[in-house]
């Protein structure tokens, strides 16, 4: 906590959170480039070494981070991480999300083999499953649901730590599943495929002219192939209708459940903290259980007990005095670091002023990547400390 501020935020006790057997799911969210994935991995490792049976679901880890957990390639199933201290009775599994594979599995699980084959071969499906901006979010939530079901079934894990996709907005992953679900179950796609089924006659009378105008426009814009691909896709998917929406709703409820805990991850930068602020508001609006803010990459104030101004003034006093050139340089360096930590503290205070009830934990910056479990462990002790 910043010694200069009178009333800082409550300290976020991460160890208490991961030690509590009632905590079953921890979701790490935040904007891109704040160290979300690393936080999720470090948290998973720490929980495992404190005795939890953990699985970490990472979305798009940097190569080195993946390697530090022994994940060499994209693999859609959890693998045991070796080198973890299991003396407390815990263990760590880790996996990287393969969104296309996950989507394929959903299709295979819910359609008969013939239909599944048709869907998997459809060009619209292929583009949707590998590129739609919301597919990754949807599949991350789908995978979370699967892991949770398996945990309940065979007790493989008692804690699931989830990373969230690097969306342009931290909020996307809450919305994307429903958006995709709405689309796949929605009126528009039914209109496109089978207008007669969409509603009663009266409805059709009012809208049919509009509908043909819509399909006509879409066809002119996108070409006839595009629409016919969509239509074939939807027709093939017909048996799964309702399923998608239902699944999205189920995942949403899982996120609201009491065993779930959200950690908002941010860096002490204006944009990242603004995004964190939005996210905190959104979580409370949706009654999602927020545990606190992980403020990564903090440059803490040094132990030297004087401010930037005082150090600079002293450096000025010494200027021109050759004998004290070294001290003057060190004082300038100190002043610079103080200014950085003062700016960061001010940003953090602004966040806390707006969200006084959100506990915060600060994790110091480290310039070098995590190369191994020891590096992750160190970040974990920053989180827990």
């Amino acid at each position: 906590m910043n010694p200069r501020s009178g009333h800082g935020p409550t300290h976020l006790d991460v160890d208490a959170l991961i030690d509590d057997p009632a905590t079953r799911i921890v979701v790490c969210c935040g904007s891109g480039g704040v160290g979300k994935t690393t936080t999720a991995a470090a948290l998973g490792l720490r929980a495992a070494e404190r005795g939890r049976q953990v699985v970490v679901l990472t979305i798009d880890p940097a190569r080195r981070l993946a390697q530090s957990m022994g994940l060499d390639q994209l693999d859609n199933t959890p693998r045991r991480v070796t080198g973890v201290d299991e003396s407390a009775g815990g263990h760590l599994d880790a996996m990287m999300l393969d969104m296309k594979r996950t989507f394929d599995e959903v299709v295979e699980a819910h359609a008969d083999p013939e239909k599944a084959k048709q869907i998997l071969a459809n060009p619209f499906y292929q583009a949707l499953s590998s590129s739609f901006a919301g597919t990754q979010e949807y599949m991350a939530m789908e995978k979370l649901g699967q892991l949770r079901a398996r945990a309940d079934e065979d007790g493989s894990w008692d804690l699931i730590v989830v990373d969230t996709p690097p969306s342009r907005s931290a909020l996307d992953f809450l919305d994307a599943p429903q958006r995709l679900g709405l689309f796949l179950d929605g009126r528009f796609i039914r209109l496109l495929t089978a207008p007669a089924k969409a509603g009663g006659r009266a409805y059709l009378k009012v809208f049919s002219a509009g509908i043909s105008l819509v399909t006509h426009t879409m066809t002119r814009l996108l070409g006839a192939h595009f629409l016919s691909d969509v239509q074939t896709f939807v027709a093939a998917l017909d048996t799964m209708f309702g399923g998608f929406r239902e699944r999205a709703d189920a995942t949403y409820r899982l996120l609201q459940a009491s065993g779930t805990s959200f950690l908002v991850v941010a860096a002490p930068e204006r944009d990242a903290l603004r995004e964190a602020s939005f996210f905190v508001d959104r979580l409370s609006q949706d009654r999602m259980p927020l545990s606190g803010l992980v403020l990564n990459r903090v440059h803490p104030a040094g132990s030297t007990p004087f401010s930037a101004e005082r150090a600079l003034a002293a450096a000025e006093t010494l200027a021109g005095d050759k004998e004290h050139a070294l001290t003057a340089q060190l004082l300038r360096l100190h002043a610079e670091r103080e200014r950085v930590s003062e700016r960061e503290a001010a940003l953090a205070e602004r966040f806390t002023a707006a969200h006084p009830d959100v506990p915060v934990v600060r994790v110091p910056a480290c310039a070098e990547d995590v190369h191994d479990l020891a590096g992750l462990r160190e970040i974990g002790s920053g989180l827990g400390g």
Partner: protein
């Protein structure tokens, strides 16, 4: 700087990308200011709905319309936040004169479908608006001397600019397809440069090198690499190296502190020496990362860390630094 020494003459579209958290919006804004020198007119656009431009320039949130946000050395910068839905409606209005059909499309969810679900369509709409701004002419000359795009991060940039990928696969004919094709040919032309912003740290540098490779493979012209938040060494090289080895003279430091009237206890000296050792490690890391960046052979520009944070005044200073290094 004389015309001849500017590195990107002939480039009309500057795309600025970079790993999240490297400051690409700041660099895009500084570049836009810097390009506006000498009475030029520059459009700064953002496409991710974050209103980063408005925040930086301290103006109200930008609508889907071009607004003047700054002037600099006789030139001016306009800002535009491109919204895919508005871009689609504008596009439909322009080409199809849709009155009633526009709201009908909205009502049945077709606009949502096109802008959020249909793979790649959103990217065509966003880059399409940028394309239109680059190509727009009035009185036989371009409306903008340059357009700067604060683009999605490195991990998504190739897909974003190569708008072909999904759309070309799905929409084999039709206006969206031809639009995508036209955009791709602008993006791949010498009129475009994709600049990448990085920090001198392992992950961002690795991502930058991967980005250069992917962009090159996709036929997209890689511009310069802007190294952001570079630490100034503050200590001469020999001293810095001594600091890294823990060999600075404690007594000398303590004597200096006394001379300045500051506390000179061992804790204070340790604190200062510790900061110096960390700076030495940081500068050594930056040196290694700088070499990795040099390996890809692109022009490199450096911007310093700004301890007090970015405000409008700092933005102008950064613009000046980019200009001095020949980027504009």
């Amino acid at each position: 700087m004389p015309e001849a020494e500017r590195d990107w003459d002939g480039v009309r579209l500057h795309v600025v990308s970079g790993k999240g958290g490297t400051g690409k919006t700041t660099v895009a804004a500084a570049l836009a200011l810097s390009l506006a020198r000498d009475g030029r007119r520059v459009l700064l656009t953002e496409v991710e709905g974050r209103q980063g431009i408005a925040q930086l320039f301290d103006v109200p949130p930008l609508p889907y319309a071009e607004r003047k946000i700054a002037t600099y050395a006789g030139g001016e910068v306009l800002g535009l936040a491109v919204d895919p839905k508005a871009a689609l409606l504008e596009y439909l209005q322009l080409f199809y004169k849709l009155g009633r059909a526009g709201s009908m499309l909205e009502k049945v969810g077709a606009i949502d479908f096109a802008t959020t679900i249909a793979p790649g369509v959103q990217d065509v709409l966003l880059t399409g608006k940028v394309y239109e701004a680059v190509r727009r002419r009035e009185a036989a000359r371009p409306v903008y001397d340059a357009v700067v795009l604060d683009a999605p991060p490195t991990g998504r940039i190739t897909r974003f600019l190569g708008v072909g990928a999904e759309v070309v696969g799905l929409a084999r004919v039709g206006p969206i397809r031809s639009q995508a094709d036209r955009i791709v040919s602008l993006m791949q032309s010498p009129q475009t440069a994709v600049h990448l912003v990085t920090l001198l740290e392992e992950m961002p540098v690795q991502e930058t090198l991967d980005g250069v490779r992917d962009l090159t493979a996709a036929g997209l012209p890689v511009g310069g690499i802007v190294v952001n938040q570079v630490r100034s060494p503050l200590l001469p090289a020999r001293r810095l190296s001594a600091a890294g080895k823990g060999k600075l003279d404690r007594d000398e430091v303590a004597a200096g502190l006394r001379a300045a009237g500051l506390p000179d206890g061992p804790d204070v000296v340790d604190g200062l020496l510790d900061e110096a050792a960390r700076r030495a490690a940081r500068v050594a890391l930056e040196k290694r990362e700088r070499q990795s960046i040099a390996s890809c052979g692109r022009p490199v520009y450096e911007l310093p860390e700004v301890p007090g944070g970015i405000d409008l005044g700092v933005l102008y200073e950064l613009a000046e630094l980019l200009h001095e290094q020949g980027m504009s």
